[in-house]
Structures are given as structure tokens and as C-alpha cells.
Amino acid sequence: MNGSDPRLIKPVLASVLTVLLLSLPWLTSDYFVMMTIRIMYFGLLTMSLCYLAGELGLVSLMQAAFFGIAGYFVAILQTRYSLPFPIPPLAGIGVAVLAAGLFGLLAIKAKGVYFLMLTLVLGQLVWALASQWASMTKGDSGITGIYAPVLFGFSAEKSKTVFYFFQLFAFSGVVWFLAALKRSPFGLMLRGVRDSETRMAMLGYPVMLLRYLAFIFAALVAAVGGVFFAYFTGLINPHSVSLTANVEALMASILGGINTLFGAVLGTGILKTLDVVLSGVTERYVLVMGVMFLVIIMFAPKGIAGSARQIWEAYKGKMLSFLALGNKTAKP
């Protein structure tokens, strides 16, 4: 991915980022910390989508369903059955993964546009369940009063800073997990499947199983985001599993660039910032977003991170040729 970068840049950037993230609550205001928390949990949702898109070449419109299933289970188990702390989030993530196991059986058979269409339908069915099964999910008004737990004597409900650090820990864990997964033999096999499925099948790799596992891993990432979403906002309603939520995740991943984890977080950050800025200026937030989405798909389908890299590569090539030859042969 970044083989041509000088070796030092990466660790230096990583340490600067780590220090920044760790000192964020003392460097900035509460509002900024809250924004960062939101970007992190929605970022997990976007990452889940980007993982499937990047590693398998499949665009899913149901990742928010797993996000929401986990959130709903946290809400229901905590408010309705009053189960103690580690159970609701663990069960929520577990059920979301089980749901992915079930839906995955159907979805992985489809490819390309068929996959998109199928996941749209499956996601809408989860939305229908959230909206219509009112005796369990409280219908369209949703479930309120979800309290974040107390961990090691620190209450994540009372202090945003504590919440921030718990989430940062989980978030970094997931990012590390996904990055490791991408580099693992499993990740390489997946990329093989993406690039030439028949060849991988001929070589004896279990193509379907690989796709199925990737689908489940992606759901797991979204589910972790959903748990933090439910705890942070204290409420969950059908909007979080709606098509709009899925489209927002898709928009964020296309904004940032669908192939990288960094792009996923960047895209979410941009989208959520725009969300705040635009809703202050205009009521036609959705319209502006739709137009923006259209423009990005048509003119920069690789996203901002992708386009930036493209420009960087082009610029670098020009620089090298300029230095080497001492003349301007590169086209504008």
C-alpha cells in the first residue's frame, strides 16, 4: 500500500497520532471529544462496509443492520431484563454475528449489483422488524434509558472522557484486528478471491467459506460500533438500521475512499462534520448530501483518500522525472 514511502514516516506519524488521541480530552473541548466519539462508532460502521468493499469488492447495504442489532440487544437486555454489564454488549455482538451467519448464507452467493440489491432487502427486513415488532423494540419511538457501564471504578455514563478512553481502546483493538486480518494469509486469500475467483477455486481454496467468513468479520466490526452507539446516545430507534443509515455509511466510505481503513475514518469524520455544519445552515441537508454523493460517485469514485493518493503518485512521478531529466516532459 505504501511501499514507496520512506520507512520512518509511518512510525513517526503513528506516535504523533497516538499522543494526540491520548491527550485529546485535555487539548480540546468536551464538544470535540463528543464529536470524536461519534466519528469513532460511526467509523466502525463505515469500516465494516469498507472492509467488504475493499477486500471482496462487494458493496453491502445492510451493515447498519448489524450495527443496529447489537445496539438493540444491548438496549433490550439492559432495560427490559436488567442484565448486568458484560452480558448485554457481549450478547449483542454475539447475536449480530449469528445474524450475519444466517444472512451471510444467502448473501454471499450473490455478486456485484445482486449483492447490493440482496443486502438492501435483508437490511430493510431488519428495519421492518425494528419498526413493527413494537412489543419488543417499542416501534418507531425506540428504546431509551440505556446507561453506559461502570468499568474499573470509572463511570462511562458520567464522564465523556472515560467513555472516550474505553471507546478509543475498543476502536484501536478493532482497527488492529482488521489491519492484522488484511495482512494475514486469510486476507491474501480474500484478495485472491476478489481479483480472480475462478482461479482461487481452481487452486483449491474454499472460496465460498472465505467470503462467508469475511462477511461475518465485517458484521462483527459493525456490531462493536453499534454497542458504543447505544451506550453513548442512550437510545436506539429504527433510524439506526434504516436505509438512510446504510446510505450514510456508504457515502462516508465513498467520501474517504473505499479501499482503506484510514479512508473509512476520514470519510466518517468529513460526513459527520458536514452533518453538523450543514444542519446549522440548511434544512435541506439530505438534498445537499444526495447531490454531493452523486458528484463524488461520478467524478471521484475512489474517494478523497484515493484521489489524494492518485494526485500524490502523479505528482511524485512528475517530480522524479523532473529531477532526473531536468525538463518538463510530463503532461499537465
Binding site: Y114, L125, S135, I297
Partner: protein, 288 residues
């Protein structure tokens, strides 16, 4: 027994509406391989255009016509200026249609507001009649919808099988390059079929808006139901769409009557069963 009869009748009439909407989508898909996600938005916009025309003129038939033509123009613009631009990459095309759906949805909200509205059933089609064999009274309008779907289905079938244009379209599905090489302007035919698909969606909006509510959000519900119909029936097959619409309509109607909390979710069952037996849908061709 009465409930069962009503469920069956309601199932058939819902299937009729779904068929009218889905036939447009399957038509555009079979030729262009675009899963046009703005089809639900076309339906909703068509319904609201029809409502305004009806309020202005008082004629329900005129409302259908104007709504159909308005949405056909909209579809034409979408195809000509956006989809054609992205031709060849079906994923990009689908995402373009998705963003256009979002834009149309919000414009509808701006123009007609967020409150649910219904179109008044025309004088001639209001009231109920007794159905001889089943011995139940049933709204005339719903029976009319059923007849309309049958006529439309028959008409489309004849159009695709018997007319020169229909034959060209089907030939274009099988071998785009050959048909283009024979001197047909396949691009123009694409645009025309897409406009026809828009016409069907817009007209269906008026027909459906007379039966159910027109409200923002309905676009996605109709799109979901339509996609379910098409997943069950198989993409690009008119008969498949009819069968898919029947299965979906009946399942939804029975579920609404007996287990309302799961009425939409229950549609998951036929989708799951059919996908695990025949991933390409009941009448779909093997994916190329």
C-alpha cells in the same frame, strides 16, 4: 373464512400493484443491467404529481397520464445525463440511481410536504360489488387494479414478443454488440425503455396512491417490496415478476392480517427459501 377470503383478495390486488411497479424495474433491468434504485422514488414522485393534477383538473385518468409522462421525462433525464455517463460499470450506475433516489425523495418532501396524503378514488370506481363465487363484497377499485395489471402484463408480453421493437429489445439483451452492428441505435432504445420504465413507475404511483398513503418513506418501502418481487421471480423475466408479485402480495397480506408485528419481516421467508434453492430466482436466467 371471511378473513381468509379477504386475505386472498387483498393479496391478489397488492400483487397487482407490485406487478405494475416491478414490471417497469424488470424492464429496465433486463436491457440495461441497472438495478435502478430510484424506482421507488419514481413511484412516490409520480403519485404526488398525479395528486396535484387531480386536484387541478379533477380527472383521475389525466392524473395517471400526466404522472406517467412526467416521470418518464425524469427517467429520460436520469438515463441520458447520468446513467449513460457511467455506462459499463453496473455498480457505479446503481449508486448513481441511489443518489438520484435520495435527491428525488427530498425534493418531494420540499414540494409536497411530509404529511401522508391519499388520492381520492374516482367516482366511477368507488363503492363495492359482490363477488359471485366467494360471496363477499369487495371494493371496485381493487378489482379494477387487478384488471389493470392483467391488461398491462398481457400488453407488455405482446409488446416484447410480437412487435419489432420488442424483438429488438430482447435481441439487445442477448447480444448487445450484434444488434448494434445490425444498425439499430441500441443506446436510443435503452433510453426509450428506461423512460417506459419510468412511465410505469409514475403511473403506478397514482394507482398505488389511490389505494394506500403517499408519504415520504413509502418510496423505500415500495422499492423493497419491488426488489423482493424481482429477487423471487428472477431478474429480467416478466412471468417471473408476475409470480413473484403474487407470492409477495399473498404473503404480505396474510402476514398483515395474522401477525402484523412481523408482516414485512415474514417476506424474508420466501426470499430465503427461493434463494437457497434457485439463487437466480424462479424464472431468472443464470447470471452471465
Amino acid at each position: 373464512m371471511f378473513l381468509v377470503k379477504m386475505c386472498i383478495l387483498n393479496g391478489f390486488t397488492l400483487a397487482a400493484l407490485l406487478f405494475i411497479v416491478a414490471s417497469g424495474l424488470t424492464l429496465s433491468f433486463s436491457l440495461m443491467r441497472v438495478v435502478n434504485l430510484s424506482h421507488g422514488a419514481f413511484y412516490l414522485a409520480g403519485g404526488f404529481v398525479g395528486l396535484s393534477v387531480l386536484n387541478a383538473s379533477g380527472s383521475w385518468l389525466l392524473a395517471i397520464g400526466v404522472a406517467g409522462i412526467a416521470i418518464a421525462v425524469l427517467a429520460l433525464v436520469e438515463e441520458r445525463f447520468f446513467l449513460r455517463w457511467a455506462r459499463g460499470n453496473d455498480l457505479i450506475e446503481t449508486l448513481v440511481s441511489l443518489s438520484i433516489a435520495i435527491i428525488i425523495g427530498d425534493l418531494v418532501l420540499v414540494i409536497w410536504g411530509g404529511y401522508p396524503k391519499t388520492i381520492k378514488i374516482p367516482e366511477m370506481l368507488s363503492g363495492a360489488v359482490e363477488i359471485p363465487i366467494l360471496v363477499v363484497y369487495y371494493p371496485v377499485y381493487r378489482l379494477f387494479m387487478l384488471a389493470m395489471a392483467l391488461v398491462l402484463g398481457g400488453g407488455l408480453w405482446l409488446f416484447l414478443k410480437k412487435t419489432n421493437l420488442g424483438i429488438t429489445i430482447r435481441a439487445g439483451v442477448d447480444n448487445f454488440n450484434m444488434v448494434a452492428a445490425l444498425g439499430f441505435n441500441v443506446k436510443r432504445i435503452f433510453t426509450m425503455v428506461f423512460a417506459l420504465s419510468g412511465f410505469l413507475a409514475g403511473a403506478a404511483g397514482v394507482v398505488g396512491g389511490t389505494l394506500m398513503m403517499l408519504v415520504v418513506g413509502e418510496d423505500w418501502r415500495i422499492l423493497t417490496l419491488t426488489l423482493i418481487v424481482i429477487i423471487i421471480g428472477g431478474l429480467g423475466s416478466l412471468i417471473g415478476t408476475a409470480v413473484g408479485a403474487l407470492i409477495t402480495g399473498l404473503a404480505y397480506s396474510f402476514a398483515t392480517a395474522y401477525i402484523p408485528e412481523f408482516s414485512l419481516f415474514i417476506l424474508f421467508l420466501p426470499v430465503a427459501v427461493i434463494l437457497s434453492i434457485r439463487p437466480q430466482g424462479l424464472f431468472g436466467k443464470e447470471a452471465a
